[in-house]
Symmetry: C2
């Protein structure tokens, strides 16, 4: 957890407007309600005081139900790793960094853009383990060479084998949610421990506008029921899945998060949740989502202000971009996200490294570029020392007007600690650079990820646990029911 | 003046540290002093109370002399344009945007990188005139096809003919400083008016560390003597021209600015000055300056805090980069500058569009990219409305859970005012983009600057004035002394 939270967060809307958005969301939940395609959840909500229309699968949530749920959710929690030195605090004074998750495609400089495989997934997990800044690994790319119904098992096994950082699932279906929790119980010893300690971060996406699909509900039931944390992500594309206006998009997105929190806190009061936002808007020329625009980051910062009002950890979209490739557009959109989010009230950046093309592609080189951007921001947020040694008034006097500081002892002993020298950035003379085939950030990044993989070392894993995990995965893959495999 | 100043500026050092830097700068001026390679200025400083060592050309400035000078400089001023509708306020609640100035080389997508010409300079002036966001034009690129001794005359003539925005000179030598002021008097009618109204922005660079070259001093004398504003730019490359440590670099840079203010305010109390900073540090692998790094922008933001303490308008470096080309590195370094500076206490961004390669090249396409970045930041700083219409609760209720907002009247009537659609950014499907030869931002930017030039219209200029200007320039080019041409 290297990035620190900004001490005086950026805000883009007034406190009064935060309150107006909050009240608008409560009205949406009370008057419009949410569609919940799950009868058990509708029953649960009805018992908790919601006004349920079973025929239309609609639940209208009274404001007190929402306010009570918000009271129950903790403002921060520790996500435990199998290596306790890797535990991360979610909420509080640091920003948890999690790499890209989800793309179907993968790209690298030599191999080009292609369908993602399990080997790619393992590579990204290894790179995430090696990265000093990333707090967790993630699915990074879909292993499309594996059967869809059991891919999650290979992913979880790889995650446990190749990294000792905390576990995160992808957005889940019912089966994978339950398998994830069973594996977490295997790793952390017993169900009772798991019930009382966050050990695996679950994620749910809401089917905007205002609809919960059966798998989403099952995941909430499974994770909240086991006391495991849920990151909540309404994915709103303003103009298609919400009003085009940012205020309306925000009010709806917030209502969706609140409904999810109501479900989780009704199932199990005290369930840790990460208040999520993932704001885009439709480019009306293509009806495709735009990521990392000024409007997108305005919504993200405003969502952080809402999270702060609710005293919840805030997950902001990470370094996202619409661009097809690691070009100026990608850098630009990602920098919009990086600057606005790290200066605002954000506690988790997910999709923090590797994302390209609206999340359709995970890029090896972009992964390295993004880590370097994050390191640069780490330097900015760290500031610089101001003391007798760094003021160096004696050196200024000694060198004097018109002099040169380059070869002074002070420069030689201080330059390394003063500025970070990015391995990606190039400051050579134009002709030297041309003579080096006008090498790009991508050629430099390509060498870096290969070196990181070559130097990768597997973290120690208890052999008995490794065997038990292997057996669990094999038996589940053969189709044995989960009920026969867990105590 | 479209960019507004951040309402709650970013700060990177504490108020106590601002004070420590200020005191350190006063000590440098008092104990080390500055080297002034100009006997007249040394006499002037001696009379004002400085301790002058004529043999070593050194002037030590007592702190009271510095503090008095700071009291005299105004906190803002209006820079008048020949078209009064184009007047700009320097200092206050907006950020004045000025394009690149200085590069010897020019680049465009088709012509490649080549030596800059007068035709290029005229093109950039026309593009600056056409730009909604740029408040002023600037020299942009050196006209290397013209004789060095009279280039400034062609530049000033072109500036007056092709734009009606306020005048800015480049960093000047003695001759060009005096010619600039004579031309300003021609344009604005009489010397008395010019003496009491800022009409041409002068610039001086300080020869760091702590040295004033004769031409710099002559420019200060000429501009301050005529009541014209001076932007002051210490160009400090930490590790070579100052200590490597940022605190030391900042204390020295600040001392240099303060010495310049002392000179200007001693010559003519009340001379408007723009407190400048232009922070870089040496990449110790190449001993070349790095622009737009985390460390560079930390110094820029801290310099803005000092300017605020002094109640002076702050000029921050613009969108600068070390990169050779309009790639991800350029976007990244420029975004560091854009975000940190526009969120901090900045009043003027100079080098705001077109700069590449550490200032060695002005790029047509990068000019367009930078303007688009600035527009995006304008959108971010503008925020978004939150009211009944934009909250759109009735639309959310009408569309309902699971619905689609795309074809609602609300979306169709609001999407244009909600989000800016950048002509540079691409959100098309990957295969569509590939089918379009994987067009880049540069190909799109290329079409835009050509269209802007094609649509350019010359602003009206009084025929009598045009003739007088032409005659002045011709006679000065023929070598007639300035004294014979001015009343």
């Amino acid at each position: 957890m290297a990035l620190k939270v900004a001490s005086r967060p950026l805000s883009v809307i007034s406190e009064e407007h935060v309150e107006i958005i909050h009240q608008a969301s409560l009205r949406i939940l009370e008057e419009v309600g949410v569609e919940v395609l799950h009868d058990g959840a509708l029953d649960l909500l009805a018992r908790a005081g919601a006004e349920v229309d079973r025929a239309r699968k609609r639940a209208r949530l009274p404001r007190q139900l929402v306010l009570d749920a918000l009271e129950r959710a903790p403002s921060s929690f520790t996500l435990h790793a199998r290596n306790r030195a890797r535990d991360v605090q979610v909420g509080g004074d640091s920003v948890v960094l999690v790499p890209v998750g989800g793309p179907a495609m993968v790209e690298d400089l030599e191999g080009g853009r292609r369908v993602g495989t399990f080997a790619d997934q393992v590579n990204f997990i290894k790179l995430s383990q090696r990265s000093r800044l990333l707090d967790m690994a993630y699915r990074c790319v879909e292993a499309q060479d594996l059967p869809p119904s059991t891919r999650h098992l290979d992913y979880l096994y790889a995650l446990l084998r190749y990294t000792d950082k905390p576990l995160a699932t992808m957005t889940l279906d019912t089966t994978s949610a339950r398998d994830s929790l069973a594996i977490a119980s295997l790793v952390f010893g017993d169900e009772e421990y798991v019930r009382t300690h966050p050990v695996i971060l679950g994620g749910v996406n809401i089917d905007s506008p205002l609809r919960f699909l059966p798998d989403t509900v099952e995941t909430i039931i499974a994770f909240a029921g086991s006391g495991q944390p849920l990151k909540i992500t309404p994915f709103v594309m303003a103009g298609v899945m919400s009003p085009a206006t940012l205020a309306g998009a925000l009010a709806q997105e917030n209502a969706e998060s609140l409904a999810c929190i109501v479900l989780a806190e009704t199932i199990n009061p005290g369930t840790p949740v990460v208040y999520g936002s993932f704001a885009s808007h439709a480019d009306m020329r293509t009806v495709a989502p735009v990521f990392g625009s000024a409007e997108g980051v305005l919504m993200e910062v405003a969502a952080g202000q809402l999270a702060k009002r609710y005293k919840l950890p805030h997950r902001g979209m990470g370094l996202v971009t619409t661009s097809h490739t690691s070009d100026a557009q990608a850098a630009w959109e990602k920098m919009n996200c990086l600057w606005s989010l790290t200066l605002s009230n954000v506690h988790m950046l997910l999709q923090a490294a590797g994302w390209l093309e609206g999340g359709l592609t995970a890029s090896y080189e972009q992964f390295i570029l993004d880590l370097d951007m994050l390191e640069s921001m780490e330097s900015f947020l760290a500031g610089f020392p101001i003391d007798e040694d760094s003021l160096a008034l004696d050196i200024i006097a000694k060198v004097g007007p018109g002099g040169n500081f380059l070869l002074t002892d002070h420069t030689l002993s201080h330059f390394r600690m003063t500025a970070r020298f990015s391995p990606l950035m190039d400051s050579r003379r134009y002709d030297t650079w041309q003579g080096d085939n006008a090498s790009t950030l991508l050629t430099r990044a390509s060498a870096i990820w290969k070196k990181m993989l070559a130097e990768y070392e597997e973290p120690p894993l208890d052999p008995g646990l490794a065997e038990a995990l292997g057996e669990f995965v094999e038996r589940r893959k053969r189709g044995e029911p989960l009920s026969r495999l867990v105590r």
